[in-house]
């Protein structure tokens, strides 16, 4: 007998042979048993998940002499003919190469004839998404009212390319990627049938590199059997696939994480000398880093990992010693390397540079470099403490502005301090607060109030909408260097708006008053009267405002807190 590749030899012959897709198989079997056969089916799913196989089994089940039956015998004439692709009632069309309207017209002509051998005429149209628009429409008419005893099975990897009107006329089944266990079980079965000795882990590796497609897995198995002479060991398989042992990957990552560049480079050197391809190694590293990251984020109990318990624990251990942001950075470097590798004729150089980058992000590991970095960190820490104290910042965006603002503030302040009190507390950065707390801030509430229209004008010049926010507020209290601006209870929106533009307002105030200050925006306490007669008071409010402006007076009625104070 001529050699038959494994995946053809082990093409499923009946529903029991189909791997995974339980719900599809169950539905189809029920349809056969209970004669609820639809005119058209659409099988959608990634490659190697059993679409065409299922279609063929289904065709056989329909046409078997005992059929329609859920268990085609596989021995009768029709079964055998369908199996070998010789049946005239089961027509397989590859839509990728017969995609025109003419081919479909021919099909339409032939559809009318009754099946000659079996009881059903089955059209299996593979890769149906490749049909042209015209062809789709021609097919549509046939699908709409198919003659009796004709079943269409459309298979596609890309259902979204199939037009809606076709979709709505088919009973659709979705084929999902096969789980690692399903694939491994099938591989084990084939190995046993073929009398091949194997290591469980070896099949696991094959299954994993097939990424959920059974056909790829079986092809790889076929290749592996020839390569290893029917004795599958982990080492052989890894060699065949050019894969690096997981233990080595773990080692490599440990070196990287511990910033041990010498050892990591040595490891790379060894691998290259042993003849491993650099690009495969890098893509393995990427996958490995991804697993580490996922384990870190999702925990090892997550269903997305198809590893053995043992492997998972090992991975978890490695992942614990590194934080996510570093892993993400490592992945970035690795993918960058992967790209560079396709342009370079010196892959070794690329990977070596990559290793150095991963080990020391700043590359500079001299004492000087470290010193500056430590200093930087210290500064950043101090900044964080200061920020905690004043609690002014809320949104992260305005942080940067604030930072800038503070710097200018500090400048102004220090200048003033120098003027007033010859160089007292300038050197300590933390005393910045203290410096403003004591008598350098001399502005009183009265001053602020008097200057308020000027401040508003200043703000308006910068940004008119901010002035609109601020119009609703009133300065009510000055405590140390902080000006409290109160907003009426129903003006929360304006308060928020003002908060967002705090820096701008601060600048305006410091320009008008000649001194930097802090701001606090608050909502005033409940206003009982206002609640009662809102409308009346609104009208009154306008009047009051005008009066206040005219006489430069103050509004006391709104806030009871002030009276308490």
């Amino acid at each position: 007998m001529t050699f038959l590749s494994l995946y053809r030899k082990y093409r499923p012959r009946n529903f029991e042979d189909l791997v995974g897709q339980e719900h599809v198989v169950r539905t189809l079997k029920n349809a056969l048993r209970n004669k609820r056969i639809a005119h058209a089916y659409l099988f959608a799913g990634p490659r190697g998940t059993g679409k065409t196989s299922t279609a063929k089994v289904f065709a056989r089940a329909l046409n078997c002499v005992h059929g329609p039956t859920a268990e085609p015998c596989g021995e009768c004439d029709t079964c055998k003919k369908i199996q070998s692709g010789q049946s005239i009632d089961v027509i397989e069309i590859d839509a990728a190469s017969n995609r025109g309207i003419d081919e479909i017209r021919v099909l339409r002509e032939k559809v009318k004839f009754y099946p000659s051998e079996g009881s059903y005429k089955v059209y299996i149209i593979d890769e149906v998404h490749m049909l042209t628009k015209g062809a789709f429409n021609a097919l549509l008419k046939t699908l709409e009212e198919p003659p009796e005893n004709v079943v269409f099975i459309l298979a596609t990897t890309e259902p979204h390319k199939v037009i809606d009107t076709i979709l709505s006329r088919c009973q659709r089944f979705d084929f999902s990627l096969l789980s690692l266990n399903d694939i491994r079980a099938r591989l084990e079965y084939i190995c046993q049938e073929e009398g091949i000795t194997y290591e469980g882990e070896a099949l696991q590796i094959i299954a994993r590199s097939s990424k959920g497609g059974l056909r790829d897995a079986i092809s790889l198995l076929d290749q592996a059997i020839s390569y290893t002479n029917a004795n599958l060991t982990v080492a052989d398989i890894q060699q065949m696939l050019g894969k690096v042992d997981e233990e080595v990957l773990n080692q490599f990552f440990n070196h990287i994480i511990n910033r041990n560049s010498a050892e990591a480079l040595e490891l790379v050197n060894q691998l290259i000398n042993r003849g491993y391809g650099v690009s495969i190694f890098v893509s393995d590293l990427i996958e490995h880093a991804r697993q580490l990251l996922l384990i870190k984020e999702c925990g090892i109990s997550s269903p997305i990992f198809d590893f053995t318990e043992e492997t998972l624990h090992r991975l978890e251990q490695v992942s614990q010693s590194v934080d996510s942001s570093r892993l993400i950075r490592i992945i970035e470097i690795l993918t960058g390397m992967e790209r560079d590798l396709s342009y370079t004729d010196q892959p070794r150089l690329v990977i070596e540079i990559g290793v150095v980058k991963m080990v020391s992000p700043e590359v500079d590991s001299t004492l000087e470099g470290l010193r500056t970095r430590v200093a930087e960190l210290e500064n950043r820490l101090k900044g964080m403490e200061g920020r905690k104290e004043d609690k002014v910042n809320r949104a992260s965006k305005s942080e940067i502005n604030d930072e800038l603002d503070k710097k200018t503030d500090r400048k102004i302040r220090t200048e003033q301090v120098e003027k007033d009190k010859r160089g007292t507390k300038i050197s300590e950065p933390v005393s910045e607060l203290a410096a403003t707390k004591d008598d350098t801030f001399t502005i009183t509430l009265d001053q602020v109030r008097k200057a308020w229209p000027a401040i508003l004008k200043e703000v308006k010049e910068n940004n008119i909408s901010v002035q609109a926010y601020l119009l609703e507020g009133q300065p009510l209290k000055v405590d140390d260097d902080t000006i409290y601006i109160h907003f009426p209870e129903d003006k929360g929106f304006h308060k928020k708006g003002a908060e967002r533009e705090e820096t701008l307002i601060k600048k305006a105030i410091s320009r008008v008053l000649g001194q930097p200050c802090r701001l606090k925006f608050e909502i005033a306490g409940p206003k009982k009267e206002v609640v009662k007669k809102k409308e009346e008071i609104k009208a009154e409010d306008n009047l009051v405002d005008r009066v206040v402006k005219l006489f430069d007076g103050e509004l006391i009625k709104v806030n009871y807190n002030v009276l308490k104070d």
């Binding site: 719900h23 539905t27 029920n30 979705d174 999702c298």
Partner: protein, 334 residues
């Protein structure tokens, strides 16, 4: 469905000569045709006194005229079903032929005209039909009617279905009866031996990419904005395993994040969900969902997240990462 009783609740001799049925939903039209045949055209007369015509055939009008004017053979009536999408919907220079035919319509013929699409009521032909027959518009059911329809579909197949499943089916397929019909048929075949259909059964077998797009993706964005990164990655991988395309997932995530952001901004301006849905020209259901969840994050966080996913898109199209990796990183990064 009441209009249809005009056809099906009369005895054969009371049938009007012409019925014009039209609508967008091909399932309903098809169903109506089937029922008409079952009700009036018995097997005995089918061979000699029934003709089905499609406007795809050459000289459709001539054949139609010929058939209409042929007297019945060994029976009282002759039945013709004509399906067209070209006549009755817009002005057609050959309409006058139809008008003539309708004006001299033989009493012994019953003509059922099925028009896929919208009939133009102003046309003279349509008026002629109204004079001697009925014009019926078939509309697919909505809301409660749709609920009833779905439950009934299960019932006539001998199954009981719970409210959750009906809701899910409605969400998935709206009132596209043809799709609904084939999904229901599939569900029933799947659970043929059981009388009761549960939500879990429906979820297991229902067409996936609808489910993924509309439902699961919500739990993904849910996880994202409640900052459960691990869960988000799990859901993502589950979706890919089930055959969803990463780029499509990305597209939907971006769409949803934009929706979230818009809802959040409009909420700040004091609008309620209904008004927001109107402004955004979006369906109320997702808007309401976003509305309730919008306190979990600030506008800024939202913007940053949106930016990360847009960045991921760039990475994918420029080939920096493969699609799944890009998505995962976008989820995990801060």
């Amino acid at each position: 469905m009441n209009n249809l009783e005009k056809i099906f609740n009369v005895t054969e001799d009371k049938l009007k000569p012409v019925y014009l049925i039209y609508g967008e939903d091909s399932y309903l039209l098809h169903d109506c045709k089937k029922k008409f045949i079952e009700r009036y055209i018995s097997d005995e007369i089918r061979d000699f006194n029934y003709t089905f015509l499609d406007d795809e055939v050459e000289d459709f009008l001539a054949t139609l005229k010929n058939q209409v004017n042929t007297p019945p053979f060994m029976a009282d009536k002759r039945y013709i079903i004509a399906r067209t999408s070209r006549y009755f919907t817009e002005k057609n220079e050959r309409n006058s032929l139809l008008v003539k035919l309708l004006q001299n319509f033989p009493e012994t013929t019953v003509l059922l005209i099925i028009v896929e699409g919208k009939v133009d009521q102003r046309l003279k032909v349509v008026e002629e039909v109204k004079k001697i027959g009925e014009v019926i518009n078939l509309k697919p059911p909505k809301y409660k009617e749709l609920d009833k329809w779905i439950v009934n579909q299960f019932k006539i197949r001998g199954k009981i279905v719970d409210a959750g499943s009906v809701k899910l089916l409605e969400q998935m397929f709206n009132n596209e009866l043809e799709l609904l019909n084939s999904e229901i048929e599939k569900i029933i075949t799947y659970k043929y031996d059981e009388k009761r259909i549960t939500l879990r059964d429906v979820k297991e077998i229902i067409s996936k990419d609808k489910l993924i797009e509309d439902n699961i993706i919500f739990s993904l964005t849910d996880a994202l904005i409640s900052k459960q990164k691990g869960r988000a990655v799990n859901i993502l991988n589950e979706m890919i395993q089930q055959g969803a395309l990463p780029l499509r997932i990305l597209g939907t995530i971006i769409w949803q994040l934009r929706l979230f952001l818009s809802v959040k901004v409009l909420k700040r301006e004091g609008k309620d969900p209904v008004a927001i849905a109107k402004t955004l020209k979006s369906h109320q259901y997702p808007v309401k969902k976003c509305y309730h969840l919008s306190n979990n994050f600030t506008e800024e966080e939202m913007e940053l997240m949106l930016e990360r996913f847009l960045q991921a898109n760039l990475h994918i199209v420029t080939g920096k990462y493969d699609a799944r990796m890009a998505l995962e990183l976008a989820i995990l990064e801060d």
